[in-house]
């Protein structure tokens, strides 16, 4: 299974004014990997689907604030 968040490591100069972010995240959600959706994928119940924003767990790619991991998941 692919991971849905990757990181890159930008060059930081000793003269940069802010403390460097050593690694910078970016999202790589499921639609980059799934291909044409196969039939018969496992489903959420209607109420769960509503709260997840999709009918299929296989399409669910939640997002969390990477700078504030303790914040409630969106």
């Amino acid at each position: 299974m692919p991971t849905y968040r990757k990181w890159y490591y930008p060059y930081s100069s000793p003269f940069d004014p802010c403390p460097p972010l050593t690694r910078v995240p970016y999202e790589t959600p499921v639609q980059l990997y799934l291909g044409f959706q196969p039939p018969g994928m496992k489903q959420f119940s209607p109420l769960q689907a509503l709260s997840h924003g999709t009918l299929w767990p296989g399409l669910y790619t939640p997002y969390t604030d990477p700078y504030n991991p303790k914040k409630k998941e969106a």
Partner: protein
């Protein structure tokens, strides 16, 4: 004076039940748009549409019409234009 017109708590749970089945219908619609030959999904769509119609009829009987331009019935006096609207609840 602000008029107090509080909806019962059941309004929100009944609404959410309808939103849930209607959301399944949105998802199945987009899926079937690209997978028109998926018979299982099609059957699920038709049975969810039936379930939605039942929930909608029960909801409207309690809280008033949901659909515009004659797709819902109205009791007297005209109920459609009555507040609250969805952005107010």
């Amino acid at each position: 004076m602000a008029k107090e017109n509080k909806l019962p708590e059941s309004y929100y749970t009944d609404l959410q039940a309808l939103q849930a089945v209607d959301f399944t219908l949105v998802e199945l619609t987009l899926y079937l748009d690209t997978h028109p030959d998926d018979l299982e999904a099609l059957k699920q769509f038709n049975s969810a549409a039936k379930k939605s119609a039942e929930l909608r009829a029960a909801f409207e009987a309690r809280y008033g019409p949901l659909r515009e331009f004659g797709h819902s019935y109205s009791s007297y006096p005209w109920q459609w234009s009555k507040a609250p609207w969805p952005w107010q609840v």
